[in-house]
Symmetry: C2
Subunit: 510 residues, 2 copies
């Protein structure tokens, strides 16, 4: 066997993460030309919005799409964010698994360090062209212009050119230009214009402009001149940290004692809880966290799991709020009735999260129900059937609120659900659907039920008014005949009886 | 802005691919304890089967599950494969994106270099324990016993121990032992026993044994003593190679001329096609492939796309064959009728693939239809709703074949679909569903239709027989009365008439 085993082993090679995604690009949302073009725009817009918001800047984001051939486009996305220092531009755009957000627990649109890199890879794979990145920090920093590709076999950035230009105006921000294979569609749900429209609904503090092919042009002006409160970064909650990660945290901590480790590296672990955990695990609070053996690590982990601890803090979340939800819906949909609910924060796997729900009902809306799903202010346009938010809509008993149902509720309405968290459990790297954690499902249903109750008051009042109007109409139709019959029976003049009946009707109406 | 931009940039860090999967373990199939336990078994079994088969060994695979606590198990999987050389064991098991199969186009169960590494990571994450790997190449090689973990922050193997033991018997193979959090279920479709049963159906040349908790014990003996023909490795087909990859192939080739490059690095490009491509692109066949500029690369790529080339060779595929399909179904399901179809090979994105379909009908089977999906001899138990194979079942018009339908066909039957290819387009790294490429969908439907037609002949014959029997039954019931009436009408004796009627009936039956 030796020969065979050795021979097979010679084939064992490393695979770079860029090669992996090149061969599996559908995992990142590049599965067909239409979706691919949308994904490129989406990744760039999310990066821009995150950067501006984190720097405390009201985002101005410009998206432009130039059609270069039947299935070829140049995508240009420019923001007014803080810019990326020139030394970091190559890795930030052209090396997979590099990012600023993965190692923090903080609400943001992107997290994984894969998004914009995927777009750069897709561009070079389909058109062979480098991505142009223009960036400046403003305030004395020149404008840096890069042409970048990814060295796929090594997952390292290739800088094809880097030149600096004067920046007298002090411009700051990032502008990316990618040439890609794609197909442009509009007037459908899974399109770039619809993505931008939905983005505008949940990002009321952003200016969004779009220039598309065939002279399409869209502008979404910001509706509020203030950013939402900055979401805070939090430490992990002990109940959401699994043993393997716990062990790594112990090995990497700069704390010198167990007590120090427990009280500084986690949220909701105070001195009392830390001492209690040590006692339960039979460990000294003063001992070094780096010297525990495997058995001791397990005991300490179990002790922490068994403690009653406060839920993680929730000021790390920045929901949109009921007022903003209502305004967003009112601006985009002509309905008769709007309701909105922001649920209190809750927790899954130690991560705080929050659900918001808005409903627009009736008016110019038509059936079937349109469901708008969002995670951390990002619209989710694909994989609706797989998403916990969709499941929640189906599991609510809408008949209770006077709305017929066949899986989905059947009514002329738009339902908006917004999931906000420090960590979004996407079912794939394509980031289009949420995994069905029971806690998420439950909160989403509660939000829908709250909204459903508000809506049902409106619907039943409307129903009552409709029934009353039907009675009035019926009366109006038969009153003259009735008056005539009564006149014959009583001998009183028909006009007098009719006048009496009308008075009664007016009283009823009043 | 500088300060802010610099400050944000300081947070830009590399993420190891192991960290990525630790935080996103649901992407690899570790989303809940039940599925996680199955995924660990699945990854180990697939590795074992691939290794043995590639070395030309009839696989003997032993799976054992020891319950150590309410939600804790030891998973042991042992094979009689060629073994892994001791120098390669650490990377082959404890470093993500290392594998022997990613860079080849060859039909195999695993491809990505992620599977078994995910199991090792899941084990250390949930129980903090190292994975034990025992391996030998036999034939003079001692037995190597490793305890391995993954250094998650670096994605590098940690060798906790390595000792060698005498191997007088010349044992060769691999045995892995992983301690994991999990939940064991049986008697449901998404269970380890069902996974092994389905594996046995499409791997008739393998011995599979299972020792589970509560004294469960299963044995699937091999039904054939011969391996299927070894699938051949093929070169990529030009029509399936995108521009970016084409450029990399040009840069990395050892060929000295374009002509050499085109004729040796691709399948189905002979001298004539290669010369034609060069001419179309305005390039010299003798020029160095490494010195083309971007424009020339694009022209050559386009020229290749425009050439009519033969479809890729299909002897690289190793389907099960109709005979094996029938035998597999017969052994596992007590039905009245079995049909099987192996479609001729076809091509998607330049990759050859083939679809097989088997149906077992009636007998002890009950509704609803059970769908068994397979890719390269591996059962797919999750994400049925998302899979191209499921979509194909729904899109076939079963009523044509005498089978009622409500989305799925409604009949007491089992449908087996097997996708065989050098590259499997899974929708997630969890490897449970196929992406809906139009070519795959079309072939799967054709396979189902072929099988449906065979089945419909049986069903309609059965239906005719049933109707005839109903007529006979009716006659038997009314014949005496009829004879009596006729006797009264004609005066002939009742017995004579009855005898005549029975003779007619016998003729009808005959």
């Amino acid at each position: 066997m030796i020969a065979k085993g050795e021979e097979l082993a010679e084939k064992i090679r490393e695979i770079s993460v860029a090669e992996f995604f090149e061969k599996n690009r559908h995992l990142l949302g590049y599965e067909n030309p239409t979706r691919s073009l949308l994904t490129v725009v989406k990744e760039a817009v999310e990066n821009s919005a995150d950067a501006a918001e984190e720097a405390g800047i009201l985002p101005d984001i410009k998206v432009e799409l130039q059609q270069l051939g039947e299935d070829r486009f140049k995508v240009i996305v420019e923001d007014n964010g803080p810019g990326v220092p020139s030394s970091k531009v190559p890795v930030a755009f052209a090396k997979f698994l590099v990012g600023s957000k993965f190692h923090r627990l903080r609400q943001s649109r992107g997290i994984q360090g894969i998004g914009i890199h995927g777009a750069v890879l897709y561009s070079q794979l389909t058109t062979g062209k480098p991505t142009k990145v223009v960036s400046s920090l403003g305030n004395g920093d020149p404008i840096h212009e890069f042409e970048l590709m990814i060295d796929v076999a090594k997952n390292e950035p290739l800088v094809l050119s880097h030149r600096t230009l004067p920046n007298p105006g002090g411009w700051h921000g990032v502008k990316v230009e990618l040439e890609v294979e794609g197909r442009y569609v509009d007037k459908v749900v899974q399109s770039i214009p619809e993505y931008l429209r939905q983005t505008a609904i949940v990002n009321p503090f952003a200016n969004l402009t779009f220039k598309g092919p065939n002279g399409t042009s869209l502008t979404y002006k910001r509706r509020v001149e203030e950013l939402p409160p900055q979401p805070k970064e939090i430490k992990p909650h002990p109940h959401g940290v699994e043993l393997g990660l716990f062990r790594r945290m112990l090995a990497n901590t700069s704390a010198r004692t167990l007590l120090g480790f427990l009280t500084t590296e986690f949220c909701r672990v105070g001195r009392t809880s830390a001492l209690q955990a040590c006692r339960l695990a039979g460990l000294e609070p003063e001992q070094s966290p780096r010297k525990l053996n495997g058995e001791e690590v397990t005991r300490l982990h179990q002790a922490l799991q068994s403690l009653k601890l406060m839920a993680p803090p929730t000021d790390c979340l920045s929901p949109l709020g009921e007022q903003m939800l209502l305004e967003g819906l009112k601006r985009e949909f002509k309905a008769e009735k709007y309701v909105a609910v922001t649920r209190p924060p809750s927790v899954y796997r130690g991560y705080p999260f929050q659900i918001e729900c808005g409903i627009a009902y009736g008016g110019e809306l038509t059936e079937p129900v349109q469901l708008l799903r969002f995670a951390n202010r990002v619209p989710l346009l694909y994989h609706q059937g797989d998403c916990a938010l969709t499941q929640a809509v189906k599991e609510v008993d809408w008949r209770r609120y006077g709305i017929p149902q066949d899986g989905f509720p059947k009514a002329p309405m738009v339902i908006l659900l917004h999931f906000v968290s420090v960590w979004v459990p996407f079912t794939t790297e394509g980031k289009q659907a949420l995994a069905s954690y029971p806690e998420i499902l439950k909160e989403a249903k509660l939000a829908l039920q709250d909204a459903g109750r508000s809506l049902s008051r409106y619907i039943s009042r409307k129903q009552r008014l409709k029934e009353r109007q039907a009675r009035v109409d019926l009366f109006e139709r038969y009153a003259p005949e009735l008056a005539e019959s009564l006149s014959k029976l009583t001998g009183k003049p028909k006009e007098e009886i009719l006048a009496y009946l009308r008075r009664r009707l007016d009283e009823e109406k009043g």
